[in-house]
């Protein structure tokens, strides 16, 4: 009995209350208006939702593969499948809608915030300030623009980041006191490989690094270490074949910098300018060119404007007027790095190395900086900010009484900067963002498809433009077509690049220009097209506006 009271007393310590508060804030910021902001679903989100729906009904993906464990074919992008499985239950419970589709991402977002607390305490295990560091980092992650944006849409990257954090946390616990947790750590890392493409590079890098650094400690727990390796490999075995297949390489090559032929052309020209001298062939070797290109893309992700001022240029990852991190974080982030190295507390070195490793896969792609592909670097940024901010607060507390004015001024400036910046972001996100960004989120499909459904009986055929991308999956999603019905009437082609084109099912047809062609005599046809392409002289039945008032789609008939 006394023990129970003791435990309860412990549980309601100040820190726990603060942690609870932080988690509540994180939950509200991730779940509030989840179904309507971001204002619409992207095609990838819809694909997750529908595949989860399909698996939930007959255990098969949309195209009928039974329990796909290696990939979801989807649009031919061969998605790592885990997100769809995580989404089966939410779709069962909440129905096939926006909220349910995004639920796993938001949930794992909140869990990431929680894990960060335990992770940071482990990282700084030997510091007397570890509680403060942990709460600060957790707090910063809870309100992080980066993490909030990525937790509010069905981004599988967000779930993968959770598995990475958890894997590292469990690894640290395991090598310190509970060796059997190595197994869970291994499982967590492997799950991240089943979740997101970029983590297929990051996770192995991190695991190898941890293995090398902790090899002495791992030798002490040989049995568990070997078991963890075996479990990891066993779990990995099913997808090893796929990872080496041409399909997996295909999507990688499209976005990859090493297929850029300009680098070779420039190198050849430079060597010619040097009259083919031997030394020129060394300094202008195309590998040098590729290395340079890699580093350029690498450093893009560390651009201060990207991190602190404008954020990712993609509206889906950023509100465009707040960085991936808040501007107020900048001084604390820098102080965090400097003092982290200076003070050398706990496993301090793990934080910068994690950050630097996590950017590597994104740097091989052409589109940089890329907030999504480097998400597995979270929460290192937040830990560094939290670390710097904690030290700043300790400094304030340590100021002598006669400097009370300075203390007040510094605290005042700090609070105003932090609160002002947060208010600015939240106002942007919850008030202006839906209106400004609806076009980027494929807004318009939902209304258009609902209209088509309402008049379905009046037409023999309904054609939907693919100008906004992948109309079939939206139609399946919003009409809640059962997977059996889809599979039995689907018109699908696959091109030589592996892309899947769904040209129609039941009375629905999808395409670009051909949908505007006159129907066969006597056939009643409803056409939904973007305004620019609606032919003149047709009867416009209805317009479907974006949230900023522009028209996304129009329904017409001949």
């Amino acid at each position: 009995m006394y023990r129970l009271i003791d435990i309860m007393k412990k549980a309601i310590r100040k820190e726990s209350l603060l942690l609870l508060l932080i988690i509540s804030i994180a939950t509200v910021l991730r779940f509030w208006h989840l179904g309507i902001n971001p204002p619409s679903l992207t095609w990838d989100e819809v694909a997750w939702g529908y595949n989860a729906y399909s698996i939930g009904i007959d255990g098969k993906d949309e195209f009928g593969r039974f329990l796909p464990y290696d990939y979801l074919e989807s649009f031919g992008d061969f998605k790592p499948p885990l997100y769809a499985y995580l989404d089966v239950l939410p779709v069962k419970v909440f129905g096939l809608n926006e909220f349910a589709t995004r639920f796993p991402s938001s949930l794992f977002g909140v869990l990431s915030v929680l894990v960060t607390y335990f992770l940071v305490k482990r990282l700084f295990y030997n510091s007397k300030n570890k509680e403060m560091y942990a709460l600060a980092a957790t707090g910063v992650l809870a309100i992080s623009p980066w993490h909030i944006m990525l937790s509010r849409a069905a981004f599988e990257a967000n779930v993968a980041s959770f598995f990475i954090m958890t894997g590292i946390w469990l690894f640290l616990v395991a090598v310190e006191e509970r060796p059997w947790l190595l197994l869970l750590s291994a499982i967590s890392f492997v799950l991240s490989l089943y979740t997101f493409n970029s983590t297929r590079i990051v996770a192995p890098l991190l695991v190898i690094f941890l293995g090398l650094v902790f090899y002495k400690k791992l030798l002490n727990v040989k049995k568990q270490a070997i078991a963890a390796v075996i479990i990891g490999l066993l779990l990995l075995a099913p997808i090893l074949g796929f990872l080496r297949s041409p399909q997996a390489a295909l999507r990688f090559q499209e976005v990859n910098i090493f297929t850029d032929s300009n680098i070779v052309k420039t190198a050849n020209r430079q060597i010619a300018n040097d009259h083919n001298a031997w030394w020129s062939k060394i300094i202008h070797n195309r590998r040098v060119g590729y290395a340079e290109s890699f580093l350029k893309h690498y450093f893009d992700n560390l651009s201060p404007e990207f991190l602190f001022v404008h954020g990712d240029g993609n509206f889906k990852f950023s509100t465009q007027n707040v960085g991936q991190l808040y501007l107020w974080e900048l001084p604390f982030f820098i102080a965090g790095i400097l003092f982290l190295i200076k003070r050398r507390e706990g496993y301090w070195w793990l934080i910068p190395i994690w950050l630097l490793l996590a950017i590597i896969p994104a740097a091989t792609a052409r589109e940089t900086p890329h907030a999504l592909r480097i998400e597995s670097s979270l929460p290192t940024f937040q830990i560094l900010t939290g670390y710097g901010a904690s030290l700043f607060l300790f400094y304030l507390i340590s100021l002598p009484r006669k400097k009370i004015m300075l203390k007040k001024v510094l605290l005042g400036v700090f609070s105003v900067a932090v609160l002002g910046n947060i208010t600015f972001f939240l106002h942007s996100l919850f008030i202006q963002y839906p209106r400004e960004s609806s076009g980027e989120w494929q807004y318009g499909y939902k209304d258009a498809i609902a209209y088509a459904k309402s008049v379905e009986g009046d037409y023999d055929q309904i054609r939907l433009t693919d100008e906004l991308g992948r109309p079939y999956i939206y139609t399946l999603f919003y009409l809640r077509i059962t997977p059996q019905e889809f599979r039995s009437t689907q018109l699908v082609t696959r091109d030589s690049f592996g892309f899947v084109h769904v040209n129609g099912f039941a009375k629905y047809r999808f395409g670009s220009d051909e949908i505007n062609r006159n129907p066969e005599e006597g056939k009643r046809t409803l056409i939904i097209e973007i305004p620019r392409k609606v032919p003149s002289g047709v009867r416009i039945l209805k317009e479907f506006p974006l949230l900023n008032g522009d028209t996304a789609l129009e329904a017409y008939t001949f």
Binding site: D274, I283, F299, L302, P304, E305, I431
Partner: protein, 554 residues
């Protein structure tokens, strides 16, 4: 050893710097750009007539292309142009000489502040080979003079704390800096303020008469510029045009929508947050921070004329030392004066991008040249710290580390030397091939040709449409057109973009082939995109083989 041979080292460094700055000065970059020819021709004009191209007598500001350049550079170009004639080499020589002097002044400054011979030598060596500094020491860009004067101001200021009369020279140098380049009008006053604040205690314990004399000197020196600016409002136009939000309608397009939406919803918080002043501030902060982008510094640079192809503003091998140096200097425990020196360099480092922050086309290597030599100091500090760290390590461990260490150092040296060789090749060989277009190549050949056939034509029409903007100045420059005659003929009109302009038998205006008079006594000089037909008597190509200019007979 260092102490004994320091003079030798120093001379070696300065000699090396001189070679890097003077070798092929007139031909690499392959052509002067429009600002260089303007500075050169105006110096030529002042030598012969005492007036600039508009007939202004000994101007403090050159109207030039209505961009109102501070005139100091032109005056500095007078001696070399007097001696060597109006050539590209002579026009660029002041910049190169100031570049070489800067290496020496930097050495003096670092030695004075930190009392460390090795640090001063390494810093000045790094500056001597700095791609950033070489870039602007080899072209007639006014910014390089501004940089020299700022470093000189700092050196004389610190020196003046011991010999107070030197402060007067420091004030003179600071005052002069604002005649060098636009950025200095913002940077130099702030820089002097920083110096005064950091060294306040020593400074104000000096005899008052020196401080007063120095202050008065400074004020006297800047007075003409101040008078000019207050009496020529148009001189400020240029500064306004480079602001990021000079085009308010496009800049505020989204913001207006936001504000309307806030109005509609009676969202008073929103009206505060979406206020355009917030956006101005954020734009400034973004512009400021863009100068701390590693990509800009080490790989990309900005405009093609501001860096060698494939290079940024610094060597990649410097990066690790830069980071180590920043860290080590930040946490270094120094004596009083050195500590103030440390504050000075950090303040300098943070102040350098301020003049550029609110302008467009950022980051911008010219407007922020005042970053130098802070990066070099941090890097040098990093190199010394690394050497020290290695010494400690080597003593502590005797196993794998010490065995692998020489290999590692060798690899790194190989990389650093390769990096330097790569830069030299990019600058001296590849740059002219890849960037001749950006350096407005083609006029020298064009004018040479025209000089030969001049007698056959009554009229020569030269386009001034992009990329031949301000072509008249290139013609004045290469023809060495008599300034006195030009001032009479041009009627002090501006020759700016798309404005009809003429002197002698030359007419400068866009060419519209369909409506042109086609006579074989009229010659047309036009850009590739303007060519609409007619007999091409001479094509001029860029060095990469693409066509640059077409000379067409009417």
């Amino acid at each position: 050893m260092l102490r004994r041979y320091r003079l030798l080292f120093l001379i070696g460094i300065i000699f090396f710097a001189a070679v890097l700055r003077l070798y092929q000065l007139g031909v690499t970059p392959v052509s002067p750009d429009w600002d260089e020819v303007a500075l050169g021709y105006n110096a030529y004009s002042i030598i012969q007539t005492g007036k600039d191209e508009y007939g202004a007598f000994l101007p403090v500001v050159l109207r030039s292309y209505d961009d109102y350049k501070p005139a100091l550079y032109t005056y500095l170009a007078i001696p070399p142009i007097f001696v060597f004639g109006l050539t590209v080499f002579a026009t660029r020589l002041p910049s190169a000489i100031f570049g070489i002097l800067t290496i020496f002044i930097t050495y003096l400054l670092i030695r004075e502040v930190f009392k460390k011979e090795s640090l001063a030598l390494i810093t000045s060596f790094l500056l001597a080979i700095s791609p950033w500094h070489i870039q602007f020491s080899r072209v007639a860009f006014e910014t390089n003079i501004g940089l020299s004067l700022n470093i000189l101001t700092a050196y004389l200021f610190v020196k003046g704390l011991k010999k107070p009369w030197v402060l007067i020279l420091s004030a003179f140098s600071a005052g002069l800096a604002i005649y060098a380049y636009q950025s200095e009008k913002v940077f130099t006053p702030l820089f002097v303020l920083v110096l005064v604040l950091i060294f306040a205690r020593q400074l104000f314990s000096l005899p008052k008469k020196y401080l007063l004399t120095a202050a008065i000197t400074g004020i006297l020196v800047v007075t003409p510029m101040f008078v000019y600016i207050t009496s020529h409002k148009e001189a400020l136009l240029r500064a306004q045009a480079t602001l990021a939000f000079s085009d308010q309608t496009s800049f505020l397009k989204n913001q207006i929508k936001r504000v309307n939406y806030d109005h509609l919803r009676k969202d008073y918080l929103g009206l505060v947050l979406d206020n355009r002043r917030v956006l101005f501030l954020l734009t400034g902060v973004g512009g400021y921070l863009s100068h701390y982008d590693l990509n800009w510094l080490f790989f990309k640079g900005d405009l093609t004329r501001h860096h060698a192809p494939g290079m940024g503003l610094m060597y990649l091998w410097e990066l690790p030392f830069l980071l180590i140096g920043l860290y080590a200097l930040f946490f270094s425990r120094l004596e009083s004066k050195e500590k103030r020196g440390k504050y000075l360099f950090f303040a300098w480092f943070l102040l350098a991008p301020v003049p550029a922050a609110f302008t467009s086309d950022l980051p911008h290597a010219v407007r922020t040249l005042n970053f130098l030599p802070t990066f070099q100091l941090f890097t040098a500090w990093g190199i010394l710290s690394a050497v020290q760290m290695i010494r400690v390590y080597k003593e502590r461990k005797g196993t794998i580390f010490s065995k692998l260490f020489p290999v590692f150092v060798l690899c790194f040296l190989f990389f650093a030397v390769g990096n330097f060789a790569y830069y030299l090749n990019q600058y001296f060989v590849q740059q002219n091939y890849f960037y001749s277009r950006d350096w407005q190549y083609g006029y020298a050949d064009t004018v040479d040709y025209i000089k030969k056939v001049d007698a056959d034509y009554d009229k020569i029409v030269v386009s001034n449409k992009q990329p031949l903007d301000d072509s008249y100045m290139f013609f004045l420059f290469y023809l060495k057109y008599p300034p006195e005659k030009y001032q009479r003929e041009s009627l002090s009109k501006s020759g700016g973009y798309d404005i009809r302009h003429s002197f002698g038998k030359f007419e400068f205006r866009p060419v519209h082939w369909d409506t042109e008079v086609k006579k074989d006594t009229i010659l047309y000089v036009e850009g590739v995109s303007e060519y609409g037909g007619g007999n091409i008597v001479k094509p001029v190509d860029f060095l990469d083989g693409t066509p640059a200019i077409k000379i067409v007979q009417g």
